[in-house]
């Protein structure tokens, strides 16, 4: 008989980030009840307060919340792009291995980890892509950082990724500026997947796309998740997107995680007042 497994890929404890000097009233005057993450006394923004979560290998976790709820800050801390004020991000390589605290890595190791083990797809392609490089150049950038040196192999891998993300391989040398919005998201996905990362971070990847394009990008993400069994963290303000992909969901408001649970439970039996409001506001 097995115990319910508690193996995890990523375990986040007490992760906090604030912007500003802080004052004794900050924590009392901000948060879900106060309805803001900005302290009215000193103007400090408590963007993310004591966030905790764990991700099992191969799972998709949704993070939902309105603009300014802290979900992108949380994602950027996990992407090692924003340095938290406190907390820990434990990572355990699938198949065993001693957990490491990513926040204690030195600058070089953190950069390597970020390039090799993480992939991120941004809402705005220009944040994830160098618009002056060709599509092939963008993907190659990640491979070069992972110490790929053979030009032929890099090109072959890039073509493979383009095919996997349903991009026209013959456009490998074209600049991203000549691609449509939905295609740019595919390019970002191809780049993110280049180093076969353990964790894919998706930040509002379909927001702002036409509905039919949105559906195709989501189908692609679902197919890749299925084929590669890759662990994903999916940030979205759209409950429909979350419902399609994530089996567990975290709800954020004013810098705090207010509720977490199975996605169907969050949708059908929301507990927190904010989650109830969110669910009742779905179109």
């Amino acid at each position: 008989m097995e115990r319910p497994t508690d193996d995890w890929l990523l375990r986040v404890e007490g992760l906090s980030k604030r912007y500003g000097p802080g004052c004794p009233s900050c924590s009392r005057l901000t948060g879900p009840e106060a309805g803001t993450s900005q302290c009215p006394r000193c103007g400090t923004v408590l963007a993310c307060v004591a966030a905790g979560l764990s991700l099992r290998p191969g799972e998709v976790l949704g993070i939902v919340g309105e603009s300014g709820s802290g979900k992108s800050t949380l994602l950027q801390m996990l992407n090692l792009a924003v340095k938290p004020d406190s907390g820990a991000i434990w990572y355990a390589e699938p198949g065993g291995g001693t957990p490491i605290d990513l926040l204690r890595l030195n600058a070089y190791s953190a950069r390597r980890f970020r390039n090799d083990r993480l992939g991120i797809v941004h809402q705005r392609p220009e944040l994830g892509l160098n618009m002056h490089f060709s599509v092939g150049g963008n993907v190659a950038e990640k491979l070069l950082l992972a110490e790929w040196r053979h030009v032929g192999k890099i090109r072959a891998r890039t073509s493979e990724l383009m095919a996997q993300t349903e991009l026209p391989v013959e456009r490998i040398d074209d600049a991203p500026g000549t691609f449509s919005g939905g295609m740019l998201q595919r390019v970002q996905i191809a780049k993110a997947l280049a180093s076969r990362p353990a964790l894919l971070l998706l930040d509002e990847v379909t927001s702002g796309l036409d509905l039919s394009v949105q559906a195709r990008v989501l189908d692609l993400i679902r197919r890749i998740q299925w084929e590669e069994q890759i662990t994903m963290l999916l940030v979205s303000h759209d409950l429909g997107v979350i419902r399609q992909l994530a089996r567990r969901t975290i709800v954020m408001k004013s810098g705090h995680i207010v509720e977490s649970g199975l996605t169907d439970q969050i949708m059908e039996d929301p507990q927190h007042p904010y989650t109830q409001l969110l669910v009742s506001s779905a179109l």
Partner: protein
């Protein structure tokens, strides 16, 4: 003595509606019952009495307010579905507990065949093998082959319900929860549902169905619980 497959003890559910002045509604009075392996357990009563609430608490789409739901899991041993952690619940849903909701909810771009095979894919079955089984189910359910590649979104209510049922039965879970399985079906298909329940029982599945269709499901139930 061996434990029953499912023992529901003092289950109670209340909904606190923050958006309506913090009002509490409780559709379900406290219930307790026991389901043995291979059994068909029928829960009946008028609409709104809390039949679906019981199923959703067992499946953990709802969080029970009080009580325990002990499930004799093959994988985890005796486990309280009210308290079990989320990853255990997700594994149980894949391997041991199936749920057929009242209405089919599917992605519009997925074919009927893939929809019905999805639980098998999730169990890790190879695609070809899963689809061979899926085709058998679709023809047993009387679905014309020309519909197999179409999305169930375009189907009639009765056809959707057949896909919905097929999807629940195909995974051969140890416990199958059926919410109004005969609603929106014609007489002939209702009898097919009865046969499917019997066949599932014969394969070792325990079935809990909630329904007000006593005439059809009553005769094939081993136990009945009336909610009044």
């Amino acid at each position: 003595m061996a434990h029953p497959l499912l023992a529901v003890q003092g289950l109670y559910k209340a909904f606190l509606l923050h958006l309506i002045d913090g009002r509490t509604i409780s559709p379900l009075q406290e219930v307790s019952f026991v389901v043995e392996p291979h059994e068909h357990f029928l829960i009946y009563g008028r609409s709104g009495i809390g039949k679906t609430t019981i199923l959703k608490c067992i499946y953990r789409s709802y969080l029970a307010t009080a009580g325990q739901i002990w499930f004799a899991s093959q994988r985890f041993g005796r486990i309280d579905l009210v308290q079990a952690d989320e990853s255990a619940i997700l594994q149980l849903r894949e391997q041991e507990i199936g749920y057929c909701s009242q209405f089919l909810r599917v992605l519009p771009r997925v074919s009927a065949l893939d929809t019905i095979c999805e639980p098998l894919y999730r169990q890790g079955m190879a695609r070809d093998h899963a689809q061979a089984i899926g085709r058998q189910w679709l023809s047993q359910l009387g679905m014309s082959p020309e519909l197999w590649q179409a999305s169930p979104v375009t189907f009639s209510g009765g056809e959707q319900q057949r896909i919905n049922l097929g999807r629940a039965f195909i995974a051969a879970p140890r416990l199958l929860l059926l919410d109004e399985p005969t609603a929106s079906l014609d007489g002939e298909t209702k009898q097919l549902v009865v046969e499917m329940i019997r066949a599932a029982q014969a394969r070792g599945t325990a079935v809990i169905s909630v329904s007000h269709d006593l005439a059809v499901l009553g005769p094939c139930a081993d136990q009945q619980l009336a909610l009044l």
